[in-house]
């Protein structure tokens, strides 16, 4: 039986779509309402919080997982990223009020000790550290866009797809951190049969990605 972890929330539908297109049976998964463990054919699926998904594979609970590249960067565990599904695309950005723009356009020293609210403390820390800038990270679990308005932070590091939520909260993109998409990940080690299964699913996903590109 092949065990696959999937993220709940924003990209859950994309994750199911990817598996379906790769030939994995997903009828029960599509119908599932509150179940977190769903069996179908030779597959068992686990639905988990996005940040927990990489750990399911790392600790050997599941064989494979679909996880956002933002989560993979944040959790930063030793896994193999087998394929980029091309779905769930968005951007990880530094965003803040217009008044901060001149500081971001200027010398890095202008950014010293900024208060940065984020769900991604590790990525934010690394991003600013790569510029030689030390900032104060404020870890929030949601509604990060509110933080500058409420004077909890000067700016935020978060994902944005269309930019509408940022706009609605009077924020603009100050810097791009990296693009984000949904990836298929496996553990580092496994038997010969494990790798054959991984290859089949990876090829199925890659073929589908090629088809999307051709359309």
């Amino acid at each position: 039986m092949i065990k696959i972890a999937l993220p709940t929330g924003r990209v859950q539908k994309d994750a199911i779509k990817v598996l379906k297109s790769a030939g994995v049976p997903t009828n029960n998964l599509e119908k599932a309402s509150r179940e977190l463990s769903i069996d179908e054919g030779d597959f068992r699926f686990f639905l988990a919080k996005p940040m927990d998904v990489p750990l399911y594979v790392y600790y050997g609970t599941t064989d494979l997982a679909l996880a956002g590249s933002d989560v993979l960067m944040e959790v930063s565990v030793n896994l193999l990223e087998l394929a980029d599904t091309g779905l769930g695309r968005c951007r990880l950005v530094v965003a803040g009020p217009w008044s901060l723009k001149s500081r971001f356009d200027g010398h890095e020293k202008e950014l010293m000790w900024l208060r940065v609210a984020t769900k991604y403390p590790n990525i934010a820390e690394r991003h600013f550290a790569s510029k030689g800038v030390r900032v104060e990270i404020i870890k929030l679990h949601g509604s990060v866009e509110l933080a500058p308005q409420l004077n909890i932070a000067d700016c935020i590091v978060d994902i944005t797809q269309t930019g509408k939520t940022l706009e609605a909260n009077d924020l603009i993109v100050l810097e791009e951190v990296c693009p984000v998409s949904l990836k298929l990940v496996s553990r580092r080690y496994g038997s010969a049969s494990y790798w054959r299964e991984c290859l089949n699913i990876t090829e199925g996903i890659k073929n589908q990605v090629r088809r999307y590109k051709d359309v």
Binding site: G60, T61, R187, A192, W195
Partner: protein, 402 residues
């Protein structure tokens, strides 16, 4: 008041007990084959380490000072200590040198791990022994691991020298990008770079490399793809063939995409893991380059296992020696200890309770895992399961202790 800092732990109980059994078994496996126990120094000079290990390990050093103020790091790698010891204590003609050890290493943990201390056990073989040395070490390692009551073991076997030879066909920038992707596990990024490689006889090899994992057929596939450097696969083929002859084919997975610290390792390498979960237990391989950096010529191969991971996944043997709680009740210590000695010589484990008063002594004995209670005042032994009582002299076969 809490004594242990974050990243450190005191470990006792069953885990420590199982780990001690594993350590003993490990030494008993290797010492009869000429491996000598070795204690590496606890501190290593920072200047010497940074010259010999890659940036990845340098970033994980736990830095401190020696008593004399020398900048040092807590021992981060035992192999460095082995090479230093061999370079300073032995001449070339005294090889092959075989060493084995169980020691702690200290590194900044990698996410999601929180511990900076790891208890490692390993073995090293330094000489000019060719592939025989690789087979000896992996063979002994598998013989040891297969004896344990733990989940099925797998070994991923690769060869960094093969990759080192193949990447010479590529422009440096491409080679470094591909190696970086392999090390970081970014296979999607690797595939993107491999598609755009400038034409070379090894283009298909590079395209397929991340998926060259599996059984013997991978070696034959690689032979066909390694156009112009076909012989580079031969050492791995021969090591694999020998291990199969020894009956270990079932647990070996050829993984040609396995790369690890190319500035440290220089030939066949391997990683050990639990097959069902992929949880890594350790790894090793050839490190001739490291030897060279110590001014030594020759060949070196070694491995290290994480003793704690192994202990946490190993079931304690059920057939343990029976435990007796010996209640001394004010008897003379010398005679109590003589009695305990007599009992242990019969194959029992003895725990002595010196206190004179002990209410609920049977319950206390049960809680400590003892199924027999020896009351030295009554000179009798009670079976706590059946309730049967035996006189001590009958139990020992004649002698009475007072």
């Amino acid at each position: 008041m809490k004594l242990t800092p974050r990243g450190c732990r005191n470990v006792g109980g069953d885990v420590a007990m199982v780990a001690e059994d594993l350590r003993k078994d490990f030494m008993d496996t290797f010492i009869p084959y000429g491996y000598k126990p070795f204690w590496p120094a606890g501190l290593q000079l920072l200047e010497a380490i940074t010259a010999k290990v890659n940036a990845n390990l340098q970033n994980r050093l736990v830095v401190t000072n020696s008593f004399h103020g020398e900048p040092c790091a807590l021992r981060a790698d035992i192999t460095l200590g082995v090479v230093d010891y061999c370079a300073s204590h032995f001449e070339a003609h005294e090889r092959p040198l075989r060493l084995c050890y169980t020691e702690r290493i200290y590194r900044r943990p990698k996410s999601p791990d929180k511990n900076m201390e790891r208890l490692q056990m390993g073995a090293e073989l330094i000489g000019w022994e060719g592939e025989g040395a690789d087979v000896e070490l992996i063979g002994l390692l598998l013989a040891y691991l297969n004896k344990l009551n733990c989940p099925k073991i797998g070994i991923a076997l690769g060869d960094v020298s093969l990759i080192q030879r193949a990447i010479k066909y590529l422009p440096r920038a491409y080679a470094m990008s591909l190696l970086g992707c392999l090390e970081e596990g970014k296979m999607d990024e690797y595939a993107r770079i491999a598609r755009d490689l400038p034409p070379s006889p090894l283009s298909i090899f590079f395209e397929e490399l991340p998926w060259l994992k599996g059984n013997a057929e991978i070696l034959y596939r690689a032979s066909r793809l390694l156009k112009g450097v076909e012989e580079a696969i031969e050492p791995l083929k021969s090591i694999y063939a020998e291990l199969v002859k020894m009956g270990y084919g079932d647990c070996i997975v050829i993984d040609l995409s396995l790369v690890r610290e190319l500035d440290y390792y220089s030939g066949p390498i391997f990683d050990v893991y639990f097959e069902d979960t992929g949880i890594p237990i350790g790894g090793g391989g050839r490190y001739d380059t490291l030897l060279e950096r110590h001014g030594m010529l020759g060949q070196a191969v070694g491995f290290a296992l994480d003793l704690e991971v192994l202990a946490l996944n190993t079931v304690k043997p059920a057939a343990e020696a029976q435990k007796i709680l010996l209640w001394a009740q004010g008897s003379q210590p010398a005679s109590v200890l003589a009695c305990a000695k007599e009992i242990t010589s019969l194959g029992y484990c003895v725990e002595i309770m010196w206190r004179e008063r002990a209410p609920e002594v049977s319950e206390l004995a049960r809680k400590r895992g003892c199924n027999l209670l020896l009351d030295l005042n009554k000179k009798s032994i009670t079976d706590l399961v059946s309730g049967d009582e035996t006189f001590l002299d009958d139990f020992l076969g004649g002698d009475i202790y007072d």
